[in-house]
């Protein structure tokens, strides 16, 4: 079987469900049809949903399941997971089906904002990937009306109340800039440092001290240090080392901003595993892998990388 991008173009569908019944009525046949057709299937949902699906059928040996809380706690990591899935199957000419529910009840506002940007970027990342259908469930009973409305803008098609899929009138296309807008100013006590003239090892010590004072455990504190080190390395490499580092706490989380005058052009920067020598992209990719939430804002005048590490 050969796939071509014209006739088997990427399908990215938002599916609104009101209860468990509706959720399973659509997801179970979607998986089973895929299995019957010999498609590769990857399901990225929360652990409870995965357990339920597994208990419903014994025919899922060839279905891959991944815990969205691990894969996508930071939404900036999810495209990487889908990319690996696609890379493993596309060369074999297999069709691919995915279910991914990145937004769940309990997500913070900042996470939801990044999830929406992630959903928009999926259209960019897989625009020319043939034979890939990705279904994104949205829990109508638990999510805000505003969040549900935005799903229409980031998905070319939507499914309401278990009916047929419809073209989304609000779909905004693939001309996506995930770096627009401003992030809220930090609140509370903020430690601010000018990066010019500061050595990287001094930056690492500042971040390590801050993480330790906030009670972050050893391994996570060291991962946070690596992430900030990557961001500042980019500042040195691409912005002459001129920038500002800010450290503060939000509740029990630690947060760090690295602000410089660089400008990130590639909307997918940091979302895809980089195997080339494009080092800035690799740094951002690692930051996404290591942190619990990453927010990047970039324009002609400045770039801000905000890294959150949860307790």
């Amino acid at each position: 079987m050969t796939l071509d991008s014209e006739h088997d173009s990427f399908i990215h569908e938002a599916f609104f469900y009101n209860d468990d019944q509706e959720f399973f009525d659509r997801t179970v046949p979607f998986i089973e049809d895929g299995v019957a057709a010999g498609d590769a299937v990857l399901v990225v949902l929360d652990r409870r949903r995965i357990d339920s699906l597994r208990s419903m059928s014994s025919g899922y040996e060839n279905v891959q399941f991944q815990d969205m809380a691990e894969v996508g706690l930071n939404p900036g990591r999810i495209i990487s997971a889908w990319t690996s899935f696609v890379a493993a199957n596309l060369t074999e000419g297999r069709r691919m089906r995915g279910i991914g529910e990145p937004i769940w009840n309990g997500r913070s506002d900042a996470e939801i904002l990044e999830c929406q940007r992630h959903e928009a970027l999926l259209n960019v990342a897989f625009e020319s990937t043939p034979g890939f259908t990705l279904m994104c469930p949205y829990d109508r009973s638990a999510l805000d009306e505003q969040v549900l409305a935005l799903a229409g803008r980031t998905h070319p098609t939507t499914v309401e109340d278990g009916r047929r899929s419809l073209l989304s009138r609000d779909y905004e296309g693939t001309d996506v800039n995930p770096f627009t807008g401003n992030l809220p100013e930090p609140s509370g006590a903020v430690e601010e440092f000018v990066l010019a003239g500061m050595s990287l090892d001094r930056v690492r010590r500042l971040v390590a001290d801050h993480a330790a004072a906030a009670g972050l455990d050893g391994q996570r504190a060291s991962e946070f240090v690596v992430a900030v080190n990557e961001a500042v390395t980019n500042t040195v490499r691409h912005a002459d080392g001129i920038g500002v580092l800010r450290l503060w706490r939000e509740g029990d989380s630690v947060v760090c901003d690295v602000v410089d005058h660089g400008w990130i052009h590639d909307p997918l920067a940091g979302r895809l595993p980089v195997s080339t020598s494009e080092t800035a992209g690799r740094g951002l990719w690692l930051i996404h892998q290591l942190c619990d939430l990453v927010q990047i804002r970039s324009s002609e005048t400045s770039t801000m990388v905000r890294m959150h590490m949860y307790p």
């Binding site: 080190n229 390395t233 595993p273 080092t279 690799r282 690692l286």
Partner: protein, 274 residues
């Protein structure tokens, strides 16, 4: 455990200490030399000096070295006798000379040999510093298990930063003032090569180059101990992985030991990348 790290003074390197010092002027060299020799005298090691004419004059003319020379405690070895023609012999021959002197010191009732060396001349001609780094690393393997200590002093004013950096990184102990040049160190433990200190995007190329200069002559297995690493980023992890691959091509198996959870995490992430 062998002493390693950055030091303000070479006054506590131990019986098999191996330190790199970058001096600015003769007074600076004198301070380091006095501290290094005092420790050796206290430990009961035979003391020996080898170095260029300016350094030799300093040793002969200023105390406490002068009185140590006068009472026969400190031997001044003629530079040409140790380094004929002002050059190092082949590594194995050079080492045989120092190993013989160490054995002789033990036979004479000392606890070992301690060498104060001012060897800027060996490293200063164009490109010669790489050979010197190879030698330091070669000798360090021997020193890891024998009571031979050395303070290798280099005149910073006469060496390019790149050379000073390479030399400092190839010693277990380095002058703290060289920290910006030598954020990490590659040295020998009795049963392993060790990498300690910090490696980031601005030192990982230096690490690759240094590891290349430490490649053993024979086939077999080398353990690289990472216990002393305080920080490493993805470029450093990649440099270690590249070294492992190059060694394998030469028939040497490189095994890692003491790597942190973070090192493994970064290795896994980089593996996922390709």
């Amino acid at each position: 455990m062998r002493r390693h790290g950055l030091a303000d003074s070479p006054d506590a390197v131990g019986l098999n200490g191996h330190a790199c010092w970058g001096f600015d002027d003769v007074a600076d060299l004198q301070t380091a030399a006095a501290a290094f020799l005092a420790e050796g005298a206290g430990l009961g090691q035979r003391l020996m000096f080898v170095g260029g004419p300016d350094a030799e004059a300093m040793v002969r003319e200023t105390n406490p070295m002068r009185s140590l020379v006068q009472d026969g405690t400190l031997d001044i070895a003629p530079f040409d006798a140790i380094y004929p023609g002002g050059r190092r012999m082949a590594n194995a021959d050079q080492l045989a000379m120092y190993a013989g002197a160490t054995d002789q010191a033990l036979a004479d009732g000392f606890t070992g040999l301690r060498v104060l060396a001012e060897v800027t001349d060996l490293a200063s001609p164009d490109g010669a510093w790489q050979g010197q780094v190879g030698w330091e690393s070669f000798a360090d393997r021997y020193m890891a298990t024998r009571p031979l200590a050395a303070l290798c002093c280099f005149d910073r004013r006469r060496l390019p930063a790149e050379a000073m950096a390479g030399l400092a990184c190839a010693h277990p102990v380095a002058d703290r003032r060289l920290q910006h040049l030598a954020p990490f160190r590659v040295y020998s433990q009795p049963d392993a090569l060790a990498l300690a200190g910090e490696v980031d995007a601005f030192s990982s190329t230096q690490l690759s180059d240094l590891l290349e200069l430490t490649i053993p002559d024979s086939e077999g297995e080398v353990v690289l101990d990472l216990e002393g690493l305080d920080f490493i980023d993805h470029s450093g992890v990649r440099a270690v992985a590249e070294h492992e691959r190059r060694m394998r091509e030469r028939g040497v198996t490189l095994t890692l030991r003491g790597e942190s959870g973070l090192f493994r995490r970064l290795s896994d992430l980089l593996g996922a990348e390709t």
